[in-house]
């Protein structure tokens, strides 16, 4: 800017730049005419006027505003003044406007809000994926479990039951699923442990201790132990004649033979077994037996019942024996059965001597701890 501002100004006969600028900005037309007539002031006045003409409008328009920002501000102001809603809608709009303004003002807040929204939306989906699908599988498992009533009875076939009864007794054998029957592994392990405790590993031969030879009950016990060595083979580790009922067999032998056949039945996984039906039908048929022997027979009936092999008549015999009906333990050589065996051997004079046999004691003790 040329010229030197002076305190005299127009009044002193000389126009300073400050005076000229004031004339232009304040629009004092009469003074402007005088300044234009002044030879010294006119060029400076033109320069200043040119500058203002060029830049005053850009000055008023600067800076450029983002689109719609003016309308947004006006709408916001009017909503809070002349067009304000006083009800809950107004309150809601106020909150929404505040949130919107804050979100528009802060990129960090926008990112945080987006992350929060994503979490809120993703949470139910994740919950559905994590919880919903496994629950559906669990329901399916429950339905399968409903069909498996006896987990320890490996697939007792319905049809072969009729084949099993090669010589069906008068009573009709019907499956009765009451208590679990030990599976082949449990029966085999219990019997095998008992077998290892026997004196020697071979079948008693002629010339062995007389007790072994003379007692059918001992032979049946040994056979029970040996049954675990080759399951499914009735003539394997012991002579097959052990399974045949003797003409003079008493209740003790009948009970032990039935237990042996049930062992084989369980070890074979429920295969049809000749003689089992007959052996079961013979249980409890002699009312002259001692109560201890009849109790042992009742335990065999109960086990057969747990296997689904008992019939209605045998059940009535069980009650007649004085035995308390109930599920027998899964262990075929459990404590109650061993106690019943001791009592039965004790009650039969011909078999009482067997109890003194050390191998039998070892067998009974070992059978009591199959683990």
């Amino acid at each position: 800017m040329s010229g030197t501002p002076s305190s005299g100004g127009a009044a002193g006969g000389r126009w300073t730049d400050e005076d000229l600028l004031e004339l232009l900005l304040q629009g004092r037309l009469q003074d402007l005419e005088q300044a234009r007539a002044d030879r010294d002031a006119a060029p400076r006045l033109e320069q200043l006027a040119g500058f203002l003409a060029r830049w005053r409008e850009p000055l008023a328009q600067a800076p450029l505003l983002p689109p719609l920002v003016e309308r947004r501000i006006a709408r916001s102001v009017l909503a809070r003044t002349t067009r304000q809603e006083t009800g809950w809608r107004g309150d809601l709009a106020l909150v929404a406007r505040f949130v919107g303004d804050r979100l528009a003002a802060s990129p960090v807040l926008r990112v945080a809000a987006a992350v929060l929204l994503l979490q809120v939306l993703a949470l139910p989906v994740l919950a559905w994926i994590v919880w919903r699908a496994p629950q559906r599988d669990k329901v399916t498992q429950v339905r399968i479990a409903e069909e498996v009533v006896e987990p320890f009875l490996p697939a007792v076939p319905e049809a072969p039951l009729e084949e099993l009864l090669v010589e069906p007794p008068r009573e009709e054998l019907r499956p009765a699923r009451i208590a679990p029957e030990p599976g082949p592994l449990e029966v085999g392990r219990a019997l095998s442990i008992a077998a290892d405790s026997l004196r020697g590993s071979s079948w008693p031969q002629p010339g062995d201790d007389g007790v072994w030879q003379s007692s059918p009950a001992l032979r049946l016990l040994v056979a029970r132990s040996r049954a675990a060595r080759s399951p499914g083979e009735t003539g394997g580790p012991f002579p097959v004649d052990v399974l045949e009922p003797g003409a003079e067999a008493g209740g003790l032998e009948r009970a032990l033979r039935a237990e042996l056949l049930l062992d084989l039945f369980a070890l074979s996984g429920g295969e049809p077994l000749a003689g089992l039906g007959q052996a079961l039908a013979a249980l409890g048929s002699d009312a002259r037996e001692t109560p201890a022997v009849r109790h042992l027979e009742a335990l065999a009936i109960e086990r057969a019942r747990a296997c689904g092999l008992a019939d209605r008549t045998a059940w009535s015999r069980l009650a007649a024996c004085g035995a308390v009906p109930g599920a027998r333990s899964a262990d075929p050589l459990d404590g109650s059965w061993r106690a019943a065996l001791r009592a039965a051997l004790e009650s039969v004079p011909q078999a009482r001597a067997v109890l003194r046999e050390q191998s039998l004691q070892a067998w009974l003790n070992a059978a009591g701890d199959p683990r």
């Binding site: 850009p58 800076p63 450029l64 983002p66 809070r80 003044t81 002349t82």
Partner: protein
């Protein structure tokens, strides 16, 4: 201001009479004016938006005690300036007590220049460049100079009104406007810089 809001078009006088239409027209017509006003003084965009809303709300709430005999335009600008001073005071600045340093040194004022890059694609490139240059030139001025440029050149207020508004003597207004224009001219039309006509 884009329009004249004094006398029979006074928005607050109309509000007192129960007619909101003039106030609504004022808000819709002058939101951009006040927004640019604060941006030119050095506010950020969002701060300027807050300030504009604050000014309108203050005006609306002052309607019951408003004296219709005063000039509404000057009154509105006073409210806007006071809002700006309050805001700066809250930020730790002291606009009411300007020192020589305040007058002479260009402060850190992002305002107009900070949003200069947000161009309107419908405007010619030359126009956009001119506006951008103005924004940068304004940003180079001190707060005191920017203020008098705003009031004298942009708003076109009489020197006496500026003196009253800024609470400074008339002579100081005259001198400050002159120096502010000189600095602005140097920033805009310094050596080698084209004028808007050269650009178009």
């Amino acid at each position: 201001m884009k329009g004249t809001w004094d006398d029979d078009r006074d928005p607050l006088a109309a509000l007192r009479r129960g007619d909101p239409r003039l106030f609504e027209a004022f808000v819709e017509g002058e939101a951009g004016t006040f927004l640019r006003f604060f941006l030119r003084l050095g506010a950020g965009l969002h701060e300027a938006e807050d300030l504009v809303q604050e000014v309108f709300l203050k005006l609306f709430r002052s309607a019951p005690s408003y004296d219709p005999r005063s000039a509404f335009g000057a009154y509105a600008l006073r409210v806007a300036r006071n809002s700006w001073i309050d805001r700066r005071r809250r930020r730790g600045a002291r606009p009411g007590a300007l020192s020589l340093e305040d007058v002479d040194s260009p402060p850190d004022r992002p305002g107009a220049s900070a949003i200069a890059h947000e161009m309107d694609p419908s405007l010619p490139v030359e126009r956009q460049e001119a506006l951008e240059r103005v924004s940068h030139a304004l940003a180079s001025l001190s707060p005191a100079h920017a203020e008098v440029i705003e009031l004298a050149l942009v708003q076109g207020l009489p020197y006496a009104q500026i003196a009253e508004l800024l609470d400074i003597p008339l002579g100081t207004v005259k001198s400050r406007v002159f120096h502010a224009v000189r600095r602005l001219r140097a920033a805009l039309e310094g050596e080698g810089r084209p004028s808007p006509e050269d650009l178009s």
